[in-house]
């Protein structure tokens, strides 16, 4: 039977796996943020022009974006923690540590911006 110690991975290998993941999900979060902004604009425009159907459509778009972000949040938090612990403690080559720290910063700022945008509600 495999012991818990056998299940550990080399920090350098884990970091190499985390870097593209952070990059990919930072982009996804930026996309969610961009679509959210669009839904908020459409909603505001529809309200101004009193187009109820268009407003409902924009609100539905916004709700599905909120759902998408909420669905991602637990795993993105885990991803942040894994990367952050490696940056701070892991036995990494200096360039890997630097790259991981940069990707983590990019990822966390994308996450924060998107969370703030969605947290503001459909009215923005």
């Amino acid at each position: 039977m495999m012991s818990q110690t056998d299940l550990t991975f080399d920090p350098q290998t884990v970091a190499a796996g985390l870097v593209p993941l952070l990059k990919e999900y930072a982009q996804k979060l930026v996309e969610i943020g961009t679509c959210t902004r669009r839904a908020q604009r459409l909603y505001a425009k529809a309200r101004l022009e009193k187009q109820q159907l268009a407003a409902q459509r924009a609100q539905a778009d916004f709700e599905s974006l909120r759902f998408a972000l909420n669905r991602l949040l637990p795993s993105t938090t885990d991803l942040s923690r894994e990367a952050s612990q490696l940056v701070e403690h892991g036995k990494l080559e200096p360039v890997t540590r630097l790259e991981l720290a940069l990707r983590l910063a990019e990822f966390e700022s994308a996450l924060r911006q998107t969370q703030q945008r969605i947290g503001a509600g459909v009215t923005g």
Partner: protein
């Protein structure tokens, strides 16, 4: 047309306008409610800021102060790194916000700058600075053998790790001190040295904080602000009793023999008595 008819007509017009615009009104009311709940509409009392390096126990302390920590349900030693600024309401004074920013070096720049400015602006009544004599929880992949300080010997690793983390505690304190000095209001500061169950050697540890470089930094504030405007205390305690373990539950240091729940409760009682003393000092 009589006055009554005119008033009736106006009322009908108002009701009809309200009915026609009910969605718009509901949306505006919703926005107003969200704005209010975000805190812009409520008058809060100055809060408490909990600072310190990652893994020292800031979130555990905040949850304890907020009455959210459950000693029967929460598993001691289960470390979950905080990734963003957390806020809690003080259990016995819900209008006092307890603010806990993440402690990792790479997150400090991004999240602490605003809080330092708030501290200087007098938005906090007190600061709790958490240290743990270097016993900071970590959960990096690879466990202690995958740690940057590991050189092939576990005991030596623990020694090096704690020494490095103590240096980190000092660095974080040095970042904080100028902002405490700049604070416009009467301010208290508590140095809470946690994880007493791991280092239960009062002489060495207390000396480290009370007599060394740490105390010199705190003294800078005292000499600048004076005892009327600044009060500092030390508390040495254990928020939870747990062995020092790595990600793979490998025990790096066991609790000190004899450190039981009675000793822990006494240490926590001292913590709460000190916070009460700060409250009285604020009022005085």
């Amino acid at each position: 047309m009589s006055d009554t008819d005119g008033a009736k007509q106006t009322a009908v017009a108002v009701v009809s306008w309200l009915w026609k615009n009910k969605d718009w009104i509901a949306a505006r009311l919703g926005e107003l409610k969200a704005w209010y709940l975000r805190g812009k509409g409520t008058k809060k009392e100055p809060g408490i800021l909990i600072l310190g390096p990652g893994g020292a126990g800031k979130s555990t302390l905040a949850r304890l102060l907020a009455g959210e920590y459950d000693y029967l349900r929460d598993l001691p030693g289960e470390y979950e790194e905080s990734v963003s600024v957390e806020t809690y309401a003080l259990k016995d004074s819900p209008r006092v916000e307890v603010v806990v920013p993440p402690g990792q070096r790479q997150r400090r720049e991004a999240t602490w700058a605003d809080l330092h400015a708030d501290l200087a602006a007098g938005k906090f009544r007190g600061v709790i600075f958490l240290s743990a004599y270097g016993y900071h929880s970590f959960k990096a992949e690879g466990g202690y053998k995958g740690h940057k300080l590991y050189q092939g010997d576990m005991k030596q690793f623990v020694k090096d790790f704690c020494a490095e983390r103590r240096a980190e505690e000092l660095e974080v304190l040095r970042q904080l001190i100028p902002h405490v000095q700049a604070s416009r209001r009467k301010l208290w500061m508590l140095t809470l040295v946690t994880k007493q169950d791991l280092w239960w050697d009062r002489g060495t540890v207390e000396k480290h904080y009370r007599d060394g470089e740490y105390a010199a930094e705190v003294h800078k504030v005292l000499s600048q602000k004076g005892h009327q405007q600044f009060r500092h205390e030390y508390v040495f305690a254990s928020l939870v009793i747990s062995n020092f373990v790595d990600r793979n539950s490998q025990v790096l240091k066991k609790n000190t023999e004899g450190y039981d729940q009675k000793v822990q409760v006494e240490s926590l009682r001292h913590l709460f008595e000190t916070l009460d003393a700060f409250r009285q000092w604020e009022a005085g």
